[in-house]
Symmetry: C2
Subunit: 397 residues, 2 copies
């Protein structure tokens, strides 16, 4: 029997809602609320400061990292939690550039999430303004990898289209030219198998509030390959990345291993929130999830294309080249997404005309896909998007 | 009637415990657990992605900042939450250095919290290695402020001794020499009145898990004075500091005002946790807190010096030169703190010989002070610290 009929029961899903936005923010695991409440009473409430030792708060960043490691092809001790994805991009990029000091080009693509590009731009200004960020079309990346490039910085799965890079091939090409790789796994972790070790990746970062269901603003993670981890000098050299933080020395000495990527005091309650989320991941394999994700995406594409001929698929048709989301272009996509939401089907919209639908097998099944396709057909064929109330765009979608 | 007999009832305080470590981690407001549980069910659970707009998550970082502003002499719109204190130090220091490009010296003191110094060291390595960090004795700081100094970076209240700098005078001296100031308020906010505007401070940062009782690893805050806030180029230029984050442009454009100090997706649950904590602060004035804090500290010093002649006061005797903690030196201080903890009095220890006791009037009263002094006397006079079990030091104290 499929494990997913069980995992679906482990989430708080609003009544009469088909939630296809887990690629933006995953729903709440039912156990999360009680887990956090219990932690707050028994640990913060009763132990207060002693919680750092007695409740293991100080090691939570590595404990949680060790649980994410198998989802991304890493070993225990190679992944650590903290801060936000943007901060982790900064840490990884700064470290990677310093490992390749003779080169001044950061290569990325225009399908990267903008914050990654912004962080690169900010770092360049801080560094020396001699570095440049070269942003090419996703399909052209491999042609621009050359001996001038210091770091190849890519998001594996495009946040708008779901288009998936070939991580292993691009990393190999990069290495053949002496380029260090930094992969953002925001739309990969929990969506498809990632094999950082097998792909020989140098640095990777990701977030936990999408497919991992860690809650709004849940902490990010960072991975550094063993050959580099003890060579890097953290630019964000906070006290918890110090070799002996509680010796309160005046000079920074980096901790051994991934611990040096810690910065400040860890966000304990947010880290605790990830425990019940990861408990659900213990019930399935990422290969099972991937297989089911492809089945759901294929079903949705087939149904939508049959029902809504005016929509254009904006994701790769080949499932192997796609993450766990499906996008369709439609000029009035914003109104469509709003009208769908009123009918209980939650997708989202990314300008200028991109409608995104994420399929997370842990809580989305074939029946949900059919419901979504039916509503989409009704909205499109009855022009339900064409209402004044859908013309004003909210700040956040 | 004193407001503090009421505020004390609003905290979860373990039975038979006198908690004198709120200068490290404040206790849990009783309302926090239900507040977070309700938010998790009604907002994350029921609204999921819509929570960003409908539940106001996206503006939480400024909303909470606006509630902290009056505690530190800032105006609404000048303080924003996010990340950790170390990250905020990095942001402020990088921005301050860039405002003073001809100068290469960061002046600090050896009483600064080490993480601030580590962050400065990491930033210098990243920048150009031409900058230097000059760390002098706290009492000598004013003598080292000269026209070579780019930034004066100090923590107002010393984390070990409670020694308090004269923020207004040092800032004035700094400005007279063209030096930009960065004040860390970790041990000030909620401990004593801070007047950033009145002191003409340029940058300030602080944390919320000490006297503000926001929970373990609660988010930090940053303040930038109006004359600089729109001139700085954030080095950590994450998407939420962009002028239009949901336009997903490829190039960074800084938001107006303090919003540009945002980096990544805000830690919503942790920010929510601060709301009930700040509700308690609405019941008192910081002036009331300061007056009572001084009374409690004076009482403790008087009682301990009368009962334990072998201990040496390691805090300024003049209350005006002290924060809201009292420290005593004792060679066997580590064992003393452990023995005290077994008897229900929680202080903490900072190497080599410093015993810290924090007095937070919101939940500590005169009776607690007398209880603590009594136990300290018993531990010292009966040499209760002299037991093998107290010889092994835990990693975190």
């Amino acid at each position: 029997m499929s494990p997913f009929s069980h995992t679906k029961t482990l989430f708080h899903l609003p009544r009469n809602v088909v939630y296809l936005d887990g690629n933006s923010l995953g729903p709440m695991p039912l156990a999360a609320r009680q887990h956090v409440a219990t932690m707050m009473r028994n640990e913060w409430g009763e132990q207060i400061i002693k919680g750092w030792n007695d409740a293991g708060w100080m090691s939570l960043s590595t404990q949680i990292g060790d649980r994410i490691a198998p989802l991304i092809g890493a070993e225990p001790g190679q992944v650590i939690m903290g801060d936000t994805l943007s901060i982790k991009v900064h840490q990884a990029l700064a470290a990677a550039l310093a490992l390749n000091p003779g080169r001044k080009v950061i290569l990325s693509d225009c399908g990267n999430f903008p914050s990654d590009l912004y962080i690169a731009q900010g770092l360049i200004k801080t560094l020396d303004r001699e570095h440049t960020l070269k942003t090419v079309a996703p399909e052209d990346v491999s042609h621009y990898i050359d001996d001038q490039v210091a770091v190849l910085m890519l998001t594996e799965v495009d946040y708008r289209t779901g288009r998936k890079h070939d991580m292993k091939a691009l990393t190999a090409t990069a290495h053949a030219h002496g380029v260090i790789t930094l992969w953002d796994l925001a739309h990969s972790v929990g969506a498809l198998p990632v094999n950082l070790a097998g792909s020989n990746v140098d640095f990777a970062v990701g977030c936990t509030y999408k497919y991992l269901n860690g809650g709004p603003g849940a902490p990010a993670f960072i991975y550094v390959c063993p050959r580099y981890v003890n060579k890097i000098h953290p630019t964000l050299s906070g006290w918890l990345g110090h070799a002996a933080p509680f010796d309160f020395e005046l000079d920074y000495r980096a901790a051994r291993g991934i611990e040096r990527l810690r910065v400040g005091t860890p966000p304990v309650i947010a880290l605790k929130c990830l425990e019940p989320a990861l408990d659900i991941w213990d019930l399935v394999t990422i290969e099972q999830v991937r297989k089911q994700s492809i089945a759901l995406c294929e079903l949705f594409i087939r149904e939508v294309e049959a029902r809504c001929p005016g929509l254009t698929l904006n994701s790769p048709r080949n499932a192997q080249e796609r993450g766990s989301q499906v996008s369709f272009c439609f000029e009035e996509g914003y109104g469509v997404i709003q009208a769908m939401a009123e009918r209980g089907v939650i997708g989202d919209f990314r300008a200028p005309d991109n409608m995104r639908f994420g399929f997370a097998p842990l809580y989305i099944d074939e029946h949900d896909v059919m419901t979504a396709a039916t509503h989409l057909e009704e909205v499109i064929s009855n022009r339900l998007w064409d209402q004044p109330k859908y013309k004003t765009r909210a700040t956040v979608t």
